[in-house]
Symmetry: D2
């Protein structure tokens, strides 16, 4: 249940209103927009009389029963687009943010070389896996703590914010200097992990699971937000279908639906979705046209020798060419690409 | 198995070469490109010695074993893009063709009004269902022969080529004045129907089945081409997945893959894929950006009263607005939209 | 909408009641059970007042609005199990019917040898494909008319009823002596074909499509029944999922659901579902335990040389061993296996 | 790569052989069967000459290159069925083990009442959720530590071994007195959790993920075994498909495949798969017939008031009736049901 408050409601009035609701056993989420403050009521509201509350509280403009199971991520609660900020980089409204880097950090030289190159091409954020979720226990599991140091060195050298995957809650302290936590597709419903990153103040990029619906993705984002962290980025990366020519089926319909249902920024990962290098460019263009807020693209200095996912990685030149095209397209769409060179 | 012939091979030489191959029990498909003539060998070629044939036939530049199970639709056999022509309208290379119209022809006034409006907005081809495949025998099955007359009247009034669905081979004579046969998703593997339309000289738009792979779509196109009809348009219209928020999941990755594997034009049907009006515009933009050759869009003068699929139909004004945007985008992509006003 | 009539309603009364309903623009389906006669009203019944009809018609015991979109196939309309009869063989209530034979009829000797062997092992019905729906136009398409003659010869020699696939409506006269029409998975929503076989008096075995829901299967059966043919057998044969180790995923949950929703007999095809010979026996046992009315099993005299689907065919000895086990199990379940030797 | 050793190989010889292999950079898994000892080589064995090793090591009977990516779970490495033991209960070879209990522990009285009832009906192991993975953060999350105490009290009162879900690795110490860790479907590829339970000596029941292949399930079991824990039970619980009438599609084909590929016991959870009470009994019978080693069934004293998953829970009487039927069936199959009353 959602209450939109009048523009002139004072902080004290709002506080009293919330206390009253919580006294009846509900939790509340407060959302302060540019024009309105919205109070969202959590709990079993079946017996609550919306009209009664509106009529007996002067500061309430109107109340509405929300049928969707997600509250904090719901655009009804928060009509403005959320903009997630990391350092000087903004993700959301007006920006088209490109995250680039290798599947795995492999060496100090490798990650530094890639970081400098993708920065020059216009990427805003550097990705690099150090803890790798692999189907087989015998596959390369990432360079782990050692890889993290290399990634942090690349951050320091270039000034690029970094994103890396967190695989369990005990890694939170270790990843303190990382700018964005990535929750992988296989952990989208690892609810304990969602709760713990929800208690952090760091942005979280949440990937859609291979067999998860759009509503389940929003519910997992709700887990993070309900713990207090409102810096969530949604990521579509392909779902599992019967089609065998691609690794997964990229569900681009999800982008306008997520943007409609929620205020959170949405980015697309064409590399993992397709698993084929030649599809990265066309799917990137389609993702921009369909309304995504950005891309996450696997980029490697030598894809044929990559320790993982080489077949879907662009080399540095291919990435640069794609970025040239995307800049032209971003201008056409009225969006800004590449924020880091503005500072 | 494919043989690329030398540019200076004479018709007589080519004819002799083919006769020789067919004498050994193979069928052949001859493809005359702008630069090269290609001869494609059909049948069990396991025991054929490619090198021997190349060495012993002067007119053969090189021979190649094709592993894909499709031959005639294969880009290796026919490197140039196929352009399908109906009247003055071209589908393929350089054009972005929009097919528009209602799910069902409902009355003479309705189809004429829609035809005139979509023509004015820039659509090149008019769609209108007269035989409707419906899940329930108790649902509206289309106006049938009566509807066909109305559709033909709209064709005559506007000059727009028309496309309608053929549901079984006995309808071929009845649909003689229709410009393009549409094979629906549920009939994609109705092999007997494919063979019969393959014997016609009329273009065929072949929709991907709800659970069919990209390779199976190409194999069904091969059925049509192997009977002698090379005017085939492929159509991606969404596949069935576990996602429930959309009617189907539009697989835009299929577009660049189909364009790479085959020379046939590929169009996208965002209306049936999504089943939601609000998704038609963003998915149309994405389809253009990903490389499709056109769109098929359900358009109705009064969607809320449509006899079928109203929830996914654009009204005439929404269609016009989309076309304005698509023209701007086609210019950006270097493609031509709306061919009919050139004549 | 369904009306259950009183046991003492006379034929004349029933006839008058039906005429009255049809006079208001509805179609009706009459179902005469062992205890009650049920009249099912087809059409848009939204404005019909059920209670009014019950109160004003003495012969009506009660009326009920049916929400499911299928009427004639609905168990509410026809509470008793339908038993489909072909010659001396019954499919349904109390019987567990095994259909066996090769994917394709390959020669007179082959089909006769297989027919005699499966008959001796206890199969009740002989299957044999003569028109084969194949993904590729270059694959073996069946022996067609010639194969049909061979199949009929095997029928005559053994007395076994025969089933074969019909691929389009023009084949109906040709298949006159066939005992059961098989509608393949790819034609489950070939609605024109369903209507035409619905006009015949011959039993129809309707296979579930690869991407079709249980409700859609029932709706396709409704197409057949709504044309007057109530001899329909449903067949679960696996659906398409992301799993790659089996050809399809056999959905055994569908059996008890179909038995609950409908009165039609349900059989299982484990051969096509799994595509692996070693799975045929365990899935056959599971199908019996879950409540199926029978099985359709691919059986071949020499699977390694079969012209199609050899990898999933049992050889004649494996089939015999399976039947020995199934007889023991049928006795345990209180069902009768192998009816042909009773006559 | 797998080496089967001669029966008379001494421990010292085996130790030396292993040291030799490990000196060349490989890991090894030693499996001591009733007749043979098998040494499994882990790592990139592409350059290893199998024949050379067989010829130069007297104790090696034969060597074989294993193409499957799983080693320790592979039946080739361990031809005998693994029997997992908890207290007096055996899961695997010759037994059909039923795990029963509520979705969630709700109170001391509830869990005790259910425990006593299912024990009397013949269940061998008590299930009860205390940490509940729920799609929504606002749904009941389980009684957590308090619920665990109640579950342990029920264990003490009845002597039944207990199983409960572990949601993250920090819960391992808390769950010390639990007899079997359950890894839920959503955590099947939570690789860090798999590794940590792999370091424990407690049996692990690993549920197949909603979109995971049979091979991926085996790879996740491999994660557990590769850390030293060989007490793994596999559990099929339905996969996500387009079918909407059931919660998930139970893939019973997976059972014979898992039994063929692996030596681990396999049980089936019909409650979560179907999500419909009426399907639990038929699917349980099918699971036994197809070769499963047991069942996990949700049972509740008052399903209509259950805090979660009431619609799929059997009440205590329904469970008892099912067990009576299953005992009769187990006898028919030559298996033992209900072990706890034998001791």
């Amino acid at each position: 249940m959602v209450f939109v408050l009048k523009p002139d409601a004072t902080k004290e009035q709002i506080g009293n209103f919330i206390l009253e609701l919580e006294a009846e056993g509900f939790s509340t989420i407060l959302s302060t927009g540019t024009e309105h403050t919205v109070v969202c009521l959590i709990g079993n509201t079946a017996k609550v009389d919306v009209d009664h509350i509106v009529q007996t509280n002067d500061i309430v403009e109107y109340g509405k029963r929300v049928t969707e199971p997600y509250k904090a991520v719901n655009r009804i609660v928060h009509p403005d687009n959320t903009v997630v900020s990391v350092g000087n980089v903004n993700i959301g409204e007006g920006y088209f943010t490109v995250i680039a880097g290798p599947c795995s950090v492999e060496s100090r030289e490798q990650i530094l070389k890639i970081a400098e190159s993708v920065q020059e091409s216009g990427a805003d954020i550097l990705r690099g896996g150090v803890f790798k979720p692999r189907t087989s226990p015998y596959s390369f599991q990432g360079l782990q703590a050692e890889g993290l140091e290399m990634l942090l060195a690349a951050k320091q050298a270039t000034g690029l914010p970094i994103i890396t995957e967190i695989m369990n809650q005990t890694q939170i302290p270790l990843l303190e200097e990382v700018d964005i936590f990535q929750i992988g597709a296989r952990n989208m419903q690892n609810f304990d992990l969602l709760k713990e990153v929800g208690k952090c103040k760091k942005p979280v990029l949440l990937k859609r699971g291979l067999a998860n619906t759009i509503e389940e993705l929003l519910m997992s984002a709700e887990y993070i937000m309900s713990e207090g962290n409102d810096q969530v980025i949604l990521c579509e990366r392909g779902i599992r279908t019967f089609e065998v020519m691609t690794r997964n089926t990229l569900d681009l319909s999800a982008i306008p639906l997520l943007k409609k249902k929620s205020h959170l920024p949405v980015i697309v990962d064409p590399s993992h979705a397709a698993g084929i290098r030649a599809l990265v460019a066309p799917l990137s263009k389609a993702a921009m046209a369909v309304g995504a807020d950005g891309l996450m693209i696997e980029t490697h200095n030598n894809p044929s020798k990559a320790l993982c996912d080489g077949a879907q990685s662009l080399d540095l030149k291919q990435f640069q060419e794609l970025m040239v095209d995307l800049k032209r397209r971003a201008a056409f769409e009225g969006k800004k690409l590449s924020q880091h060179d503005l500072h």
